[in-house]
Amino acid sequence: MSADGMSNGMIEFRKELFADERDDTLNEIGKPTRRQDILGHVTGRSPFYDDHLFHGLLHMRCARSPHHAARIRRIDTTEAELSPGVVRVLTGRDVPLNLNTLLSLLDFGIDDEPVLSTDRVRYRGEPVAAVIAESEAAAREAAAKVRVEWEVLPHVLDVEEAIRPGAPVVLEIYPGNRFVYHGRYDHQKLRFGDVEAAFRTADHIIEGRYQISPIEQAPIETCGAIAAPETNDRYVCYTSTQALFFSLATTSKLLRLPSSRLHFIGGTVGGGFGGKVDSVHEPLAVLGAMLTGRPVKFMWDREEEMQVGGPRGAERWYIKDGVMRDGRIVARKFTGYFDSGAYTRLTSYAVIKAVGHLPGPYTIPNVHADVYCVFTNRTPATAMRGFGITGVDFAIEAHMDKVAEAVGMNPIDLRILNAYRDGDMKAHRRVAKNCALIECCQVVAEKAGVQLTSASRAASSRQGGGGERGRIPAHTALDQVGRVEGFDTGSYARKPARQAGATAARPAAAAPAPAPPQPRVPRLEPSRAASAAPPIPPAPAQPAQTGGPARSGPIRFSSISGFRRR
């Protein structure tokens, strides 16, 4: 195919659709203006994080678990420290606050993941030590010399095996291997109408099981950060992050360092696709710079990017539809399992996003979903393009094809018949507006020469919605299935009040040998008590610290929004 063919004649703008809702006479908006940064990109001059090289730059590599699950009896770094070119070897005891959950900045979830594990590993590739050396080769060589005495533990890799009674517990704070929602259930529920009653009236019942395996974001530029001591007792960090202040705040929390001492620079990133929000590199690179007084680069190689970096997590979905002869879907039931891997990171949140998306872009009067965030002994999952949606959209649309076949309809006619329209009530109980699914279906059918019914051709997102379709069902079947005890009520799983912030605080510069962090077993507490502000953690014993206690986190989004104290 010609280069021309890829761009010219292969894109059209259907300006006639929804023209009455737009002002097309703007000066700059709608113009194909050349990108501000394109000259730098195509001439190879745009600076990415790895282009900021420093004199005396040190390199960091991690020693990692070869086991899916194991207890750490002992970590011996002696040989690694004596390896040529090694400047320092970090273990968990060097990390001032060696426990975090990414969304703690939003008060979502309980801190569960160490930066460098000290007592347990829960997935193959989990880091237990970080070697800092004069060259990447020296760091690699020394990382292989970190000796760990493992006690291998049973592991579980399948989401449905993980939630069976007696399965190996991945994460002690979630004994059922399921994240806890609102302190109340081991899954997120969606209940709209009564699917079981509707199934009894349906002409067809169509069931399916779908699965999507983990996927790597595969950016050209692997994740990483370079940190260096800056003047005025600050640290500069060049980073590939997709979220500058999120990574800065995470670093501030883990290093117990006021955010005013951190200077983060990024903004031009060689591909992200969701894989650069986990803020894994910035805390360790800055810690390395703090403890060595020199610039430190921590960058994944391709193998780490693919096997240690959080992928789009696997999902498994079961869908059951009740369908009438004419193709109307009257009930849809989901059971979904998100494979979070060994720690929570963002999966608990992806589940909520998926639940808000159900039952897809269709108006179905009875919807029921139970969606689980399941812990297994694999690399923790994280964000990726289509976060929380791609997997279930695959399931829904593959299922729609089966529904079309069962009722003998053209699959595009089936979509248009069931499509949501302006004014319809969605299953999460908000009214649909600004819909355009029908028009997308019509345009594609026309382009592909697919003959639609006259009803499908005449349909519009702006007509035929609302009315009966805009009402919340008079009766919704509710249940208490999956009830859990022992977690704070009132919101998502969150820290028991008194233990929050009191974890593993220790000086960054010194290296005492405290006990490994204990699993934070949730306690049953009155919900009011849980909403108290977290205690102020002790000040880090930084020699350069000018005094005054560090805040537990530089940014508390939730206290701005009132999420925590609602």
């Binding site: 195919m1 761009s7 894109i11 703008f13 259907r14 659709l17 929804f18 737009r22 000066n27 700059e28 908006i29 050349r34 990108r35 501000q36 940064d37 890799l157 609102h182 529920k189 969606l190 209940r191 709209f192 779908y210 699965q211 395996s213 979220a243 500058l244 202040f245 999120f246 800065l248 990024g266 990133v269 391709r302 193998e303 696997a314 909520i352 996003k353 639940v355 808000g356 998306h357 897809g360 393009r385 289509g386 791609t390 959209d393 829904i396 649309e397 729609m400 094809d401 595009i412 999460h428 908000r430 600004n434 819909c435 355009a436 699914l437 028009e439 997308c440 594609v444 382009k447 697919v450």
Partner: protein, 340 residues
């Protein structure tokens, strides 16, 4: 042994911005002495064109040519807070913050122009080419540069503005799942054509025909870039990629691009795109985010097309020759459906 062709369809919608809200972004805009504007952000440009789309939004709102605007991001010492570039939120959230900041700066610029022209600022309009004039009287005009200079050197005022966009965080009901996920949705529909080899189990995607509804194509070339790349990524997710080929077993995990399969240039299917624009009521000039959703319809459309071609349902992604061959064997060979 034969090649079988089939077509598959899928349609999706996609939520724009972080689910439940609570994800603010800020922007600062200021004029330099010669009437050029700097937009300060901490938002990340991942290649999607964040710097360029915010630049156009600022220029449109300020009423100055795009060449007079430069976007500076992301330095935590100078850029105001942004939640990050994910969740298809950049254009929607940051774009709205930029509009607010640019409106404030524009108001100062117009007040300075009004004082210089001795007219009411409410009667002034910008022509988008660097001039401010009285509505209906283009001859009574002043350049945006002169207005900015007057503000700074004669009136002692900063031509600057602050912007933030926030949809406050909302709660989720534990028992019903009632929630306010997002404020707007993008849409897409797609037909893909595949060719399935019933001897090797290999699947080729030979054509894609799509319709994407993006609210407003703020920069049509940037939108096209996103949709082309994204749809190919969707194709790759359907029939190539995984870090765990035998999930949930962790064996055979790839460690480089010779083991992690992705389509090469010769595998990429032609993609015929139609763009629909139904402006989002709260989007910047109606814009939604095309970034993530463009990949989503391809995954199911590919498996539906395989069924159309050979009658095998692949319900576990990615599609592999092994899965196709096992399916063919189980049903005693290809059973083309040809329904679409």
């Amino acid at each position: 042994m034969a090649l079988h062709r089939g077509r598959g369809f899928a349609a999706v919608n996609y939520p724009i911005g972080m689910n439940l809200g609570g994800d603010p972004s800020q922007a600062l805009v200021h004029a330099n002495p010669d009437g050029k504007f700097t937009v300060s952000l901490s938002s990340i440009d991942l290649g999607q064109g964040m710097k360029s789309v915010t630049r156009q939004i600022a220029a449109e709102t300020l009423g100055v040519p795009v060449e007079d605007v430069y976007v500076d991001t992301a330095d935590s010492d100078t850029g105001p807070h942004c939640m990050g570039s994910f969740a298809s939120r950049g254009t929607h959230r940051v774009g709205n913050a930029v509009i607010q900041a640019a409106q404030e700066a524009r108001a100062v610029m117009l007040e300075a122009a009004a004082e210089e022209l001795e007219v009411d600022a409410a009667d002034l309009v910008t022509d988008g080419r660097g001039n401010i004039h009285v509505r209906g009287a283009p001859s009574r005009s002043i350049t945006t540069m002169a207005a900015c200079q007057a503000a700074q050197f004669r009136h002692g005022r900063t031509v600057s503005g602050r912007g933030i966009f926030l949809i406050p965080l909302s709660e989720v009901d534990p028992d019903t799942g009632e929630m306010t996920p997002v404020s707007c949705f993008a849409h897409a529909a797609m037909i893909v054509e595949v060719e399935v080899d019933d001897e090797t189990g290999e699947v080729r995607v030979t054509d894609m025909k799509s319709a994407y509804e993006v609210g407003r194509a703020l920069n049509p070339k940037l939108v096209e870039q996103q949709l082309r790349g994204g749809a190919w990524m969707g194709m790759s997710h359907a029939a190539w990629e995984t870090t765990e080929p035998y999930y949930p077993d962790r064996a055979h995990g790839p460690v480089d691009f010779s083991g992690y399969l992705m389509p090469g240039p010769g595998d990429l299917a032609p993609h015929h795109i139609s763009i629909l624009e139904r402006p989002a009521p709260d989007g910047p000039f109606g814009g939604k985010g095309p970034g993530e959703m463009c990949a989503n319809p391809v995954l199911p459309a590919v498996v539906n097309a395989i069924y159309d071609a050979v009658g095998v349902r692949i319900d576990e992604l990615p599609v592999t020759p092994e899965k196709v061959l096992r399916g063919l064997r189980a049903q005693g060979g290809a059973r083309p459906r040809k329904r679409l």
